[in-house]
Amino acid sequence: MAKTPVQFTLNDKETAVFVDGGANLLDVLRRVVGDLSPKYGCGQGTCGTCTVLIDGEPRLSCLTLAETVSDQSIETTGGLADGPDLHPLQRVFMEQFAAQCGYCTPGMLMAAKALLARNPNPQREDVIEAISGNICRCTGYEPIIDAILDAAGEMRGRVS
């Protein structure tokens, strides 16, 4: 089958790949590009762990055709840390035990990052809304909601 050339930025890095027709973005990121940070959960757009940001918007990479992201900006959990310095969301998730098995964590982090980019001062309800497409089996969500709220506070403090 003919392959299509696709160029995009992945975590601010120019990336060019050849993709099969019909290939989804999650497969391309994991198998072609080698970024294993977005996880394959259900593969049906239900669990949210494959969430990546496309031009800043949270999108399910398992349901996104790779060919459609040409010239767009993709962000994954793999690009959150700045060298050895974890992103505030990552650090607070870790410090406050917002992960147990960790499988939902990449999706939660990306959904949270998109929320905080558009609303730096979210209320509890805003956080719940933002992660409503992400399923967590272990934590009961509470530590995740608290961690996102605390990271938001910390990031506001840093900006001002």
Binding site: Q44, C138, P143
Partner: protein, 339 residues
Amino acid sequence: MSLHKGRGFACINYPIGMNLGGDPSQALVHSTPDGKFMVTLSAIDLGQGMKSVTRQIAAETIGVPVEDVYVDTADSDTGPHDMGSFASRGTHRVGNAVIQAAKEARGVMLEAAAEELEVNAGDLETDGHGNIHVKGAPGRTITVEQTAIAAQFRQGRTISGRGIFLIPMSDVDPDTGEMTPVSCFAHAAVVVDLQVDDETGEVEVLEVNSAYEVGRALNPKMVEQQLIGGAWMGISHALYETTEPYYPNRDHGPTDFNQYLMPGAGQVVNHNIAVLERPAEDAPFGGKGPGEMCANPLLPAVANAVYNAVGVRCDTLPITPEKVLRGILVNGGAQNRGG
């Protein structure tokens, strides 16, 4: 339409481990040449934190910082045999095996240090920060790292230890039928407050209050996290989850996990937890572990609360709106019961 509030209570004595065949767990501990320690297990950490807890247990027993201990799990080719991670046995069974292995490794470590310092191993103590001192003479000291290097390259000694936890297999007494399938019990009591809509049959949990006795909470934050998360798993089983919901026609049923009901972040309610610590004698540092009982008592508590709210006694799970409505219909209306 009206909303009916109900409160349900349930308590549990939860057996730690299952002694049908001795319930063995094994652990191996060895030091690397730079004085770190590797704990090798074939029990798996499913996310509940067994890796963290066994790491703490090993560090405490050997007498080194927790940062210097690594736990390698879940390879039954390279790790020693383990029955597995089930029956809430991880902390207790695997933890005990780790203690035994870590004690043996500590013994060799102190002998190696004693040879370097030219003293008796019995006169040595660890400070938990990576150093070994002569008791009463803190100036006479050697680091764990130097000890490991000496053992490896000069003394020809392996700083290592083997551990197994095995309790006598429990047989049924032919006269009394009595048996002792477990070695210790953990306990919990939960209260669930909820409301039932008598028009839709929908059950909404409003608040959870619980008390858990888990022995010593070896890692309190992880215990709290597991109790909160596990409670939701229980509520979810009570109210939502089934692979085979009742439908008049099977073709209308779900075909995949995208139609499998699970709670989302919006359903979370306040859960107040009291953790009671009564260290168990045969448990590693007294920790029995929360395990499955995080989820179990929530199911009867929810069922009892539904009965309290509208008088419908559901004896099959999940307690779906349809079952609640059919029950209300049979009773000739919602009736507050047992309040």
